[in-house]
Subunit: 340 residues, 4 copies
């Protein structure tokens, strides 16, 4: 019963097998191999648009590289106060942008409140030399409370931002889970909803370490700049075929969706069980593979004793993360732990 | 006959298998897993010293992170004019140090000339506020001409540097090849020869992407600082067990040495064949898996026609890189190509 | 009737004369001149403590250099949401720290709320590798609403910060005005209240461009580091005697206090007149030389027509800044403008 | 007899008087004052071209800001090995560019050898993602050996650089001295000779601290970017009229040329006296206000004993710097010291 994080889960066997298949003799390094080419085509097809792409092995790297393309050193990224880029990346965006600023915005359930965004866009001038201007908007979907922005909610924040010339970054560490939850297509949940760049993550959903920075529209003109930054930051690993192979296997035959579907279902089950316990309050809508709850002390204690792995913050709230590998057995054990 | 680069070669099957073995259920992320612990112990044993360690997936990342620990933003790294960190990492050391300076030094066969080093150390003051002071020395061994620094050669440059308080970084992208070529122990070729930090690379020698930054002696006190920089630069990938597993498999049963031995032998064979051709001049001592030669035009043309993959610079010099995967068949084909 | 900013006011004649006096033949450059030595002694005497000092010509430079000494690239500065360093320096702290983060805190009248600070210090861990740790606290006194932190208010925020190892920076762009308003001594309002570094500004109070970064206590050990950063950022101007001369003249014979007293008195008069108008609401306590008010439209219009220079934000609030040079005549004209 | 540096010399009285004249009541801050406007027009007239302009108080700041406009973080500046930006600015260009690289080139008398430049431009590719590309060329004229690049010499290096798209920066810390020495016009010695940006310095030639970054041609489109960087680096001092006033007074009535003429003449006299001594070898052509010589030990000792202030490097070479303030009396004393 390990619900600590989707990063503690194992790699899906199909993805490991893909490495073996990819390991067929010599191949051009640094992304000039045929698997990378196939992956690019596959992504373009799935997203129904021309794309350019850069691969990395960590979500932090992807997000920070993407933001450095949208925000100059003397610019500002607007994000939610709970955003991973603000709270959990040790200042990676600030490092990669060369000293850009992140402005944390409020909003319930880790969603940027459109009203707050409007206020900030009005308050922070775009062309006053003394003041850091907003240059990018970053949205996590699913977000850090495990919630889904609907298309309307996305457009409510991306539209005013784009109108003022801000670049829009989507942190898609759990993009596949959002697809399942929303029933939208990849295109609908990315560029059609206002994203200039999507950081698409496979790592939390079955891969070893495979993240794609997807450039849509005019942002594609900046590919060379992005590659220079990728190299300079040590994220242009030589044997790139093995990252591409992971992601290609993950996408083929809709594996990414299947894995996300399983993870989301498991999270629903976990939430239902917590609700049924009488000792837990679910804090946010469970739109993906994460469940946030406030547990009464006896229940928390009981679960810990039963060997349930979950994360609890100093403020008492707890997080249960399901993954593709959450098994029937684990869920059954969890039911026993709850009902004990 | 792909002699383009050791980064085009495949991954050794034992290393791929190790991923499968590592993929056993849940494991703590970010390096808190048991495989990482075993790797640390193994490295400490091999290097006969306490060490601290950080893993990355690229040599550029390792080198730049290591240098950022030794050199402040207003300091300077001394390196050879041909150094990979100066020529082939798109300014990664400058990025990671926050704007440090690299001063390229001369010396035959990509070895820093001790006399030049003395001159520079005298010329660039250590405590004059207007002038960037030397703070670190970086040495590649094997170096960028495929040559080995002997222990005496290493000490001739590390000793004066250390005496003036410079930190010493060894770029060990081909460290295993240097071990084979020199017959020295890992300890003799690293900290006993003056290294504060060794960047030990497995990627060019059979791994997918596995590099270890090894901290010796007092540098270990800076582990926390290094980890902050690792995280901040996106190089603290969550599923770290899969990097550790690669490197552990690479070290166990002396696989790293066996692979380097094969690569070095193949390079000797390549060099012998080039010499025998009458149309090639070997430019540097072949101490590892790389052969640098100047080819007469007819020979170069003949090899290319025969499908030999090698890299040729605008100045006419050519590089042939052997790897663990260079086969008898390839060498035989190369013999035919030469003798045609 | 120019109440736009204290930076639009002229230079006090005594300070201009001091330049002439300083212009006596040759003098060592870069701060090795006798005037700089005298200034250092004078500051040490006034602040009743050993100090080290670095001079610059702009407050932005002083603040950013000071913060770069207290906060590493992967650290965070806590400041008020209205802080000049956050709102009006185009990311200078982020630039000088090498990508540090500023976290804006709330609190009425631009004073950091002690409760908010406690919450943030609890919420943001100090030693969790993934999260940017708080490393410095920055306080403006007088602050950006023209308000004075009392000694108790200062200690309420500096004490918990210092306890957790944060460095404390005071932005003293209007420090002289704070001295007058509080009746405290320079020592009481700086290091005795928890400051590790005070950026003492003369520019807004009669000088051409003269700012001193004062290091107290153990921070003095970092003088060499600060000087390296001063040089590297282009703020070690060669003819330093002319900056020192400004500040020395400003301090001698208590000129700084006299000028601040005049400015503060003028602000009181402005505030009284605004209050008397019936069309203005004074928004913050007038503790120095700035008056913030919300004006009813007819009054705002009437003042503008009468040629009163003041700044009005999009949200309707207005700022009137008095300076040492605000004349009786200006105040009298303002009275007429109000009463018209 | 202070020949240590032109930065130890006093300020010309006309420039001090200009401060007094500028100190006339209120004036818009941050460069929106009428004196700045007049200065811009004056510079445009003198350089016979439209220009944009940013003022700073130090040459280091000017050079570093200018270079940050021409060279991205992942680019490279080509300069002479003796360049002030490489040797004497503590890494300011690296800081302001966000980690750009400086590549030091060789050439006699601190002039970049055109052949070396061609070699480097060929050797360092412009569009290979792994290698830092040359993006800017920096030339000091007068240079660090006190020598003048002729127009032909300038074009020999700027033309190939411009052809490959590099931006060209001229460090004109002693530009007025170069004008006198060459007999060229400001335009001929700047944009007509290939400069995109000229850093024009008054500080070493009579001002307190006044440097202008002059943007020519298309570089003017980047003014907003430059201003953002100026602000962010703390170099947009509020009371800008006092910098503008210095430079305007320096330019008006050809004062700059008169002062440079005097300094150059004094340097010629110093050189002649050194030559006549029989104990000194003049090392470089004396094209401006600096004399570099190798002194025999007895002469060096004799001069020091006589109270002559000059700078001597560990390698035995010595520098004598004349300035506008070098007096007949000093030269006469120096003659006595030589002839003693």
């Amino acid at each position: 019963m390990n619900f600590l994080s989707d990063t503690t889960s194992p790699v899906h066997p199909v993805i490991l097998d893909a490495l073996k298949t990819a390991n067929d003799g010599y191949a051009a390094s640094y992304g000039h191999d045929p698997i990378t080419t196939r992956l690019r085509a596959k992504l373009s097809e799935l997203f129904e648009a021309p794309i350019e792409m850069v691969l990395t092995t960590s979500g932090t790297a992807s997000n920070a590289l993407a933001l450095s393309l949208l925000c100059p050193p003397h610019g500002m990224v607007l994000c939610h106060d709970e955003a991973h880029i603000h709270r959990d990346e040790r200042g990676a965006p600030e490092f990669f942008t060369g000293g850009g600023k992140l402005l944390p915005l409020k909003g319930d359930h880790a969603k940027i409140d459109a009203g707050q965004l409007h206020k900030v866009l009005k308050e922070w001038p775009r062309d006053f030399v003394h003041t850091t201007p907003p240059r990018a908007l970053s949205i996590s979907n699913l977000n850090e409370s495990g919630c889904l922005y609907s298309i309307d909610e996305l457009i409510a924040v991306t539209k005013p931002a784009r109108k003022l010339g801000l670049g829009v970054h989507f942190d898609g560490a759990r993009f596949a889970n959002a697809l399942i939850s929303s029933g939208q297509t990849p295109a609908e949940l990315s560029w059609k909803a206002g994203a200039d760049i999507l950081c698409l993550g496979a790592t939390k959903n079955g891969a070893i370490g495979a993240e794609a920075i997807l450039l849509f529209g005019k942002t594609q003109d900046q590919l060379t700049e992005l590659q220079a930054r990728q190299k300079r930051s040590g994220h242009m690993g030589p044997k790139a075929r093995f990252i591409a192979a992971q992601m290609l296997a993950w996408l083929e035959d809709d594996l990414w969706l299947a894995l996300a579907r399983d993870a989301n279902s498991a999270a629903q089950e976990i939430a239902a069980l917590l609700r049924s316990s009488g000792g837990a309050k679910i804090l946010h809508s469970v739109d993906g593979n994460e469940v946030f709850a406030r547990l009464e002390d006896p229940l928390a204690e009981q679960l810990r004793k039963a060997g349930v792995g979950f994360y609890q913050w100093p403020d008492g709230s707890a997080r249960f993360v399901a993954s593709w590998s959450t098994s029937e057995e684990e869920l059954s054990d969890f039911r026993h732990a709850i009902n004990a």
